[in-house]
């Protein structure tokens, strides 16, 4: 394992040890970090590796959360079934949105997906019959019987295992043909086509994966919070997610992990100052883009020589 992978492994080991010393508040923060890691990995695949600037993740995160809550609530599905199902629902919707978006590029894509994200938020708010409208839905904690763990502890380790699995899967995928296909279409679609890469299929796959991860993250987030409300999935959430991948490092798995941990930590630290939160995240994105385009992972790469599969320097024209 190279240095980046080792650091990721260390992070997960520390995370596994956290419950020994944490109180319910710290556990919440740790669990939130794990959920955000899953989100960040998915977003980074889409924006960093595949180069598709889509703002759909916030909405799909919400879709996953609502789906998981509804499946348990109305259809009485057990959680171990509802969670992957939520991921699949988000994936289906993500692909449905992606199909028209395939024809769009750059800023058109950004615009359309921002519009979709706001539309989704509006739907969460106003489709009272299904989403509970502004009050949202209550989500009971997960019962882990017959395992002898409390819901809080169980949820934490579940998030940990899922995050670990997703990181491992992504790590392997990036070393495979699929990963190379993503980067190929990011660099130049025409060239990719010339190399017999099916651009449409690759793009759709990128959207699908990001959506799947976002949906699963949503399914994990809902019982953590104990409720699903529309405000959690607004524009700020989108900017937060982008801050994670930009500051962490676009196109880098380590970047997703570090960025997620860093941003959640920052958010908790700035808990008292909502005004500063916006300045902080907006400013961070701006400063990183201006002065440190590769993010933290990029820094590690250039200064310490830490290499990662398919982690390229930021492209210049």
């Amino acid at each position: 394992m190279n240095a980046s992978a080792r650091l990721i492994a260390v992070c997960f080991v520390l995370a596994a040890l956290l419950p020994l010393v944490a109180n319910r508040y710290t556990m919440f923060v740790g669990n939130a970090m794990l959920v955000q890691i899953i989100l960040a990995v998915g977003l980074n695949l889409l924006v960093g590796h595949a180069g598709l600037l889509a703002f759909v993740n916030g909405a799909l995160f919400g879709v996953g959360a609502y789906a998981a809550a509804l499946l348990r609530d109305s259809l009485h599905w057990p959680y171990w079934l509802a969670l992957p199902a939520a991921g699949l629902v988000a994936m289906v919707i993500g692909v449905a949105v992606a199909l028209p978006a395939l024809r769009l590029y750059g800023l058109y894509l950004a615009l359309a997906t921002v519009a979709f994200a706001q539309f989704a938020l509006w739907a969460f708010m106003h489709w009272d019959a299904v989403t509970g409208g502004p009050s949202g839905l209550k989500v009971p904690p997960i019962d882990f019987s017959p395992l002898p763990v409390s819901p809080g502890l169980g949820q934490y380790y579940l998030s940990l295992l899922v995050a670990l699995a997703i990181c491992w899967l992504t790590h392997n995928m990036l070393r495979s043909r699929i990963g190379r296909a993503f980067v190929a279409i990011r660099e130049s679609e025409t060239a990719a086509e010339a190399m017999a890469i099916d651009v449409t299929r690759t793009k759709t796959l990128a959207y699908a994966l990001a959506a799947l991860y976002a949906g699963i993250a949503g399914g994990l987030f809902a019982p953590l919070l104990g409720l699903v409300v529309p405000e959690s999935y607004d524009l700020f959430q989108v900017v937060f997610q982008f801050a994670m991948v930009v500051v962490g490092g676009l196109g880098s798995l380590l970047g997703s992990v570090l960025g997620a941990a860093l941003m959640v930590w920052l958010q908790e630290g700035l808990r008292a100052f909502k005004d500063l939160q916006e300045i902080a995240f907006g400013g961070l994105i701006l400063l990183t883009v201006l002065f440190l385009p590769g993010g933290v992972a990029g820094l590690l790469r250039t200064r310490l020589g830490w290499r990662e599969a398919l982690h390229r320097p930021v492209r210049t024209r």
Partner: protein
């Protein structure tokens, strides 16, 4: 990483503290009582949280200056929930497990308070609600949870009563699309049905709506002579401005968020726009001498602030808490405080009526005062006591 390091450090410290002789109750020691408050400290409705907590802090500081309660000083800790349920959940966890408070005197936004409730119930920690009006918080009554502010349905029933008192015959409702309005809308309809009245118009707007011209036109077209607003100040300001714009001047009755009519008038900016507007508040008028005596105290601890009705809300609830703590005595535990609160009563000098809790009724406050602009000045124009 730092967080984890800190967590380990606090675990070690915690273990060492367990060896020292100390009070068995969390948040209480020989020299202090820790009171926590979660609520909206930033954002458009920060008055319900920050300003009210400032008022409470005035009382707690004064009590400390006089020597504290049974020799213990009060330490007041605040956490911001930005009026959002998903922020309230970690905020209240932080209060309970990180700041380790003895009791909570907070809760300003209904949605956020409801989200925080399961965590508070789980921790079995006393909670005196400052001004969150969701009825589900206190009905059916749960141990440890009490409110010193009128509850949602009380406000809308009072609004209806007031409109009828003032001679309203055709009543319209304008409400916002959120949980706060939803919880007080149904009781309003029920109260209207009981009186055999049907609303002539029933409009819903987004809480951050920027233009309500269409809504105002529809309400005007319905011929309503009074409009009941289930709105927060931002939407209400827009609505009032738009009714003025189309030349429609009905009687308008608002709830507690709109109680500071002077503030509303300033926000609308058009002279005379609030001529037929009334809002309610649990507090006495600002020029009442009993109230004015707190003005210098507020200035003492918050030099940049002017006394507002929201300070008074904090003052009243803090006075109630202090009285209960004093009655609970030096042997202070959460269970003991709960017993005291269940039969506690106090008439704060800044509230229009008494705060009175019983074991079967934790909605301890039921008197609201009406405010309107008379000759350009904010004046109390009426009072209603709910059953």
């Amino acid at each position: 990483m730092v967080r984890i390091a800190l967590a380990m450090l606090s675990a070690v410290l915690g273990a060492s503290m367990a060896l020292a002789p100390a009070s068995a109750e969390t948040g209480v020691s020989d020299h202090e009582i820790v009171i926590g408050a979660f609520g909206v400290l930033t954002g458009p409705v920060y008055n319900y949280g920050k300003t009210a907590f400032d008022g409470a802090e005035v009382i707690y500081n004064e009590v400390n200056a006089a020597g504290g309660i049974d020799g213990r000083k009060i330490r007041f800790v605040r956490e911001d929930d930005q009026c959002k349920p998903d922020v309230a959940v970690p905020a209240v966890r932080k209060l309970i497990y990180d700041d380790k408070v003895f009791m909570i005197n907070g809760g300003a936004c209904s949605n956020a308070a409801l989200a925080a409730m399961p965590e508070i119930v789980r921790a079995e920690i006393p909670w005196v609600i400052t001004d969150a009006t969701a009825p589900e918080l206190t009905a059916p009554p749960k141990p440890f949870i009490f409110t010193t502010f009128q509850v949602g349905w009380m406000e809308t029933v009072a609004q209806l009563q007031r409109a009828l008192e003032l001679g309203g015959k055709k009543i319209a409702i304008v409400r916002q699309h959120d949980a706060w309005a939803a919880s007080r809308y149904q009781p309003l309809l029920d109260a209207m049905a009981k009186g055999g009245i049907k609303p002539v118009a029933d409009e819903e707007v987004a809480p951050d709506v920027a233009d309500t011209t269409a809504v105002a036109l529809r309400v005007q077209a319905s011929g309503a002579d009074s409009v009941l607003l289930l709105l927060f100040p931002q939407a209400a300001t827009v609505f009032m401005r738009d009714t003025y714009k189309i030349g429609y001047k009905p009687m308008v009755i608002g709830g507690s968020p709109l109680g500071d009519v002077g503030d509303m008038q300033k926000a609308i900016g058009i002279p005379g726009a609030t001529a037929r507007f009334e809002g309610l508040a649990p507090t006495k008028a600002l020029d009442d001498p009993a109230v004015q005596k707190y003005a210098p105290l507020v200035k003492k601890y918050f030099p940049n602030a002017e006394l507002t009705p929201w300070h008074l809300v904090g003052i009243a609830t803090a006075q109630f808490v202090v009285a209960a703590l004093k009655q609970a005595g030096p042997d202070l535990t959460r269970a003991k405080l709960d017993t005291v609160l269940a039969t506690m009563s106090l008439t704060p000098d800044v509230y229009a009526g008494p705060i009175k809790c019983t074991p079967t009724d934790h909605q301890c406050y039921r008197t609201v005062a009406w405010y309107g602009m008379v000759d350009g000045k904010l004046k109390q124009v009426g009072e209603t006591t709910l059953p």
